[in-house]
């Protein structure tokens, strides 16, 4: 038995540490720890709720904008503000762009090197690489000369002994299975995807001034303006043309490069449809194109839960059943009278204080039998839940969504895998790619709707009825959510006398990366790692595959909330 430590887990956002027991080339147990804490929600206390989104957006710069969206929705829910349809569409375009962008970056720049051996690409025959590329896609950059050029760049790096970002990889590891030609093709697409992500995210700059951290939301709608006849309006016919162009280019890349690459790589690793399943419960709040943000209905991505890998039914979801446990996290619930026990609490009641009790740095191992993470453990009705693109895909699939069903079934058929193969490490990778395809095609619909509304003279983007704080009730509470690229995101806000008095976030990676709870149930990463094969405990590449398949985002995951010494007696959230 060997204890392995991976710290830092790289190619993720933030600071994640994995400790695992390996016995007989299998992981027998695992612990996931977030090793950085900031305390952003504490900073929000006393602020104007209208600017909460500007602060909350900084929770994460990778999944930038998702916290801004959840935050304005929470405040709008608290104040009872309905937003104009155009504002809803612009938010969907910004959110959808984030989704596709994150998925492309995740696959190529954060995850691919777990499957792709860069050094092996040097042995590839560029002509055969060209044949391979042309056999799976119409993507024009596929000539032998093109792949030769890419190979020369890699050769130069290797010869210089300055491998830059590619230094220190597990090159030559026996777990790599792609032939040299597939490796060379993937390296070429890694480099191309750097251009794609830069161009595609310009959508957020057009609509929000910049990325990361676009600056355009308002409680009540968007600061974005729209006018068919004004050159200086944010959205006008010229900008619609630009948006359409950028979306079309991204759609081509997703269809001709991203999806074919996922299929090609997956076909060389069929056994990875059998590893990494984990907890098997999948949850999503639902999102996009809802008639009203908080009624839980009418979404493109339906709300619901798939329990115990049972795709025959979808259970309803009530955000009031979300709790957080700190039994194994470096916090304590403040002793503030009734209801202050150390058991799990609803996020709106979570009054937590950071209290580090781990080993004194520098340390070799965490005390995993006690508290071992800055991440809390969210549970739904006491159950561990996996969230993310796979969860959304499964809930939509089990709900009978025709588009999703057709896409998933044809993908499974192509891979010669049963539906149960989706509960796996590669299932997450495939679910993410399929979702990129779905969202990128909806993006063009949303831009078209905006164009249509503009043509019809409907240019409203903001509802100013509640902009003046004097119009607000003395106290108000709200819940805002978003299905972010990495999964279900919830913000809870409590407002009193026009100021924020409590703010709580439960982010996708809080769900997925959290530690054990008071019942000893492992978090999703931990559960998914058990039974993962490890050929070489010194180079646990396989562990990285499964952890990366969740697309970890640790800045999002780590949260503390609540005002010290306050009691939140009533259940504040009605959804």
């Amino acid at each position: 038995m060997a204890r392995i430590v991976i710290d830092p887990v790289t190619r993720i956002e933030g600071h994640l540490r994995i400790e695992a027991e390996v016995t007989g080339n299998r992981v027998t147990d695992a612990w996931s720890s977030g090793t950085m804490f900031r305390g952003i929600e504490l900073v929000l206390r006393g602020r104007d709720p209208r600017e909460a989104w500007i602060w909350a957006q900084r929770i994460c710069g990778v999944c930038t904008t998702v916290h801004a969206l959840a935050s304005v929705r929470a405040v709008e829910d608290a104040l009872g503000v309905a937003i104009p349809e155009n504002a809803r569409i612009v938010r969907d375009i910004i959110g959808g762009t984030q989704n596709v962008q994150d998925h492309i970056i995740h696959f190529y720049h954060l995850h691919a090197l777990d499957w792709v051996d860069v050094m092996s690409a040097l042995k590839a025959d560029p002509a055969k690489t060209s044949q391979l590329a042309e056999s799976i896609s119409e993507w024009p950059k596929s000539s032998a000369m093109y792949f030769k050029g890419v190979q020369d760049r890699v050769k130069t790096l290797v010869a210089s002994r300055q491998m830059s970002l590619f230094g220190g990889g597990d090159w030559g590891h026996p777990a790599y299975k792609l032939p040299p030609e597939a490796n060379l093709m993937a390296v070429a697409h890694y480099i191309e995807a750097l251009d794609v992500q830069r161009e595609f995210i310009r959508i957020q700059a057009v609509l929000g001034g910049k990325n990361p951290h676009p600056q355009t939301y308002l409680v009540g709608g968007m600061a974005t303006t729209m006018d068919g006849g004004e050159a200086d309006a944010t959205i006008n016919p010229e900008r619609i043309t630009l948006l359409n162009q950028i979306v079309a280019n991204a759609q081509t890349f997703v269809r001709q490069v991203y999806l074919p690459d996922v299929m090609a790589i997956a076909s060389f690793y069929p056994e990875w449809f059998g590893y990494g399943a984990g907890v098997g419960n999948y949850m999503t709040y639902g999102d996009y194109a809802g008639e009203r943000t908080n009624n839980g209905g009418g979404f493109s991505f339906p709300r619901g839960i798939v329990m115990g890998r049972d795709l025959t039914r979808v259970l309803p979801l009530d955000p009031g059943n979300v709790t957080e446990s700190v039994t194994r996290s470096w916090y304590e619930y403040a002793g503030v009278g009734q209801g202050s026990s150390q058991s799990a609490k609803h996020p709106a009641e979570g009054v937590t204080n950071p209290k580090y009790s781990g080993p004194k740095p520098p340390y070799e191992f965490l005390t995993t039998e006690e508290k071992y993470s800055w991440i809390k453990s969210p549970r739904y009705d006491g159950k561990v839940m996996e969230v993310g693109p796979l969860a959304r895909t499964l809930v939509a699939y089990a709900s009978g969504d025709a588009h999703v069903k057709q896409l998933v079934d044809s993908t499974l058929q192509q891979l010669k895998q049963p539906a149960s193969a989706l509960f796996s490490t590669l299932g997450r990778v495939a679910g993410r790619a399929l979702e990129a395809e779905i969202v990128v095609s909806r993006l063009s619909d949303w831009v078209a709707q905006l164009d249509q509304n503009m043509a019809n003279g409907d240019v409203r983007l903001h509802n100013g009825d509640k902009w003046n704080p004097e119009s607000w009730p003395k106290s108000a509470q709200g819940f805002g959510f978003h299905e972010a690229p990495r999964g279900s995101l919830g913000h809870w806000v409590e407002i009193e006398d026009r100021k924020i008095v409590n703010y709580q976030v439960v982010a996708p990676s809080t769900w997925n990366a959290g530690p054990r709870d008071e019942q000893g149930q492992r978090g999703p990463y931990e559960a998914a790692l058990v039974e993962t094969p490890v050929i070489d405990p010194e180079r646990p590449l396989e562990v990285m595959r499964t952890v990366h398949s969740f697309d970890p985002c640790l800045a999002c995951a780590v949260h503390v909330v609540g005002a010290k010494g306050r009691v939140y007696g009533q259940t504040p959230v009605t959804v």
Partner: protein
């Protein structure tokens, strides 16, 4: 003089590339095609506003046998500055991380993980003492012996001391690495500080902003690559070319301000016509940054252009000094104060490259000048 420079079309720089086959030959042998090589040199000279002949200097810098080593540290961060870096277009991220520098440690994007990642950083510190560049992103927690951020079991503070202590140059990207940013604001439960606050005695080039604009980082890196030194700085150690001027003085909506045309409420007619956002809380009149000229995401836009006021994200302790963000500034700059009509003219004619060019050349020839924010403003915040 500068106008004369700008009148040279950028594409003509290509003709000024060196005939020296050995330089180009070496680049080609490194896998850089002639076309890519030219694009790179032209892009670089444009970013820094150098006369076309400087392409040769850039080419020579590129053809040095060893690329300078760069390590990028992330502490209490959101990775927004890493993401911003990934969006750089002149030069592109692949130019920076694969060709111009040996980018040997950067947790968000490096291939190595765990022990191999730690060894890569250790090797740089041990073998390249005094020669490497460090970029720092995120604040550094100093309370409770630094337990609020550990990497590989070591505290951020410990790592920052060691790695920055042996560096040739240090660049702090984003508000958090500069002065603690959002992490330090409010009750600051982790004792977070910016790099210079957490580790004393360091010479740091600060690129604040939330996030920093990668056009500026690229310009700083290329300046270093070409001349071996950092560009001129202001009193807060921010490069003058990027932080020397008020947003308000460079703003495309400035004429509306001068004419008294303001957005009175969100989504009104003035908003659709692109009028001034001063009454909606815009902090442009008291914030320095080059957003209006370089803009963001390859010159696509910037917040005011997209319809929202500036939040002053490159100003000292901006979370504490610029919020409430929707409240109108009490003292706006007077009409015509410090307007540089010439700059506005260039923005109008030119596009991003030309505008950046102006600022770039200025940074090289201009002496240090007074920073925008008096230290007393910072002190006032500290006292709170």
């Amino acid at each position: 003089m500068m106008k004369a420079l700008l009148s040279v079309p950028l594409s003509s720089a290509e003709n000024a590339l060196p005939d020296d086959d050995s330089v180009l030959g070496l680049c080609v042998s490194r896998g850089i095609s002639r076309r890519r090589f030219m694009e790179f040199c032209v892009g670089v000279t444009a970013t820094l506003a150098l006369p076309a002949a400087y392409a040769q200097t850039v080419a020579k810098a590129l053809s040095e046998k060893r690329k300078p080593t760069l390590v990028w540290l992330e502490f209490q961060d959101c990775a927004g500055n890493t993401e911003s870096m990934l969006r750089t277009s002149h030069p592109t991220v692949e130019d920076l991380v694969l060709e111009a520098f040996s980018w040997e440690y950067h947790e968000t994007i490096m291939a190595a993980y765990g022990k191999a990642a730690g060894s890569a950083l250790e090797r740089v510190v041990r073998e390249e003492k005094g020669k490497y560049i460090v970029v720092v992103e995120g604040a550094i927690p100093t309370a409770d012996d630094g337990v609020y951020c550990t990497i590989g079991g070591r505290t951020a503070l410990d790592i920052a001391h060691e790695v920055c202590g042996g560096a040739a140059e240090i660049i702090a990207v984003g508000a958090c690495a500069w002065d603690g940013g959002l992490v330090r604001s409010g009750p600051n439960p982790t004792g977070a500080m910016g790099l210079q606050g957490a580790v004393s005695g360091l010479r740091v080039v600060n690129l604040p902003g939330c996030p920093h604009n990668s056009a500026n980082l690229a310009a700083v890196l290329v300046h270093y690559l070409t001349f071996g030194v950092m560009p001129s700085l202001d009193g807060l150690n921010r490069p003058l070319f990027a932080y020397g001027d008020l947003i308000h003085d460079q703003c495309e909506r400035r004429a509306h301000y001068d004419a008294g045309r303001f957005v009175e409420q969100w989504d009104d007619e003035g908003a659709r016509k692109g009028w001034c956002l001063y009454k909606m809380g815009c902090k442009g009149p008291e914030a320095n940054f080059n957003c209006p000229t370089v803009q963001w995401n390859g010159g696509t836009s910037w917040p005011v252009k997209a319809g929202h006021g500036c939040i002053g994200c490159a100003s000292p302790r901006f979370w504490d000094t610029k919020s409430p963000f929707y409240e109108r500034l009490p003292h706006a700059a007077g009409f015509g104060v410090d307007v540089k009509a010439s700059e506005i003219g260039w923005v109008a004619i030119g596009g991003v490259a030309a505008a950046t060019a102006v600022h770039g050349i200025v940074s090289i020839v201009r002496d240090r000048k007074q920073a925008d924010a008096p230290d007393s403003a910072i002190e006032k915040v500290r006292e709170q």
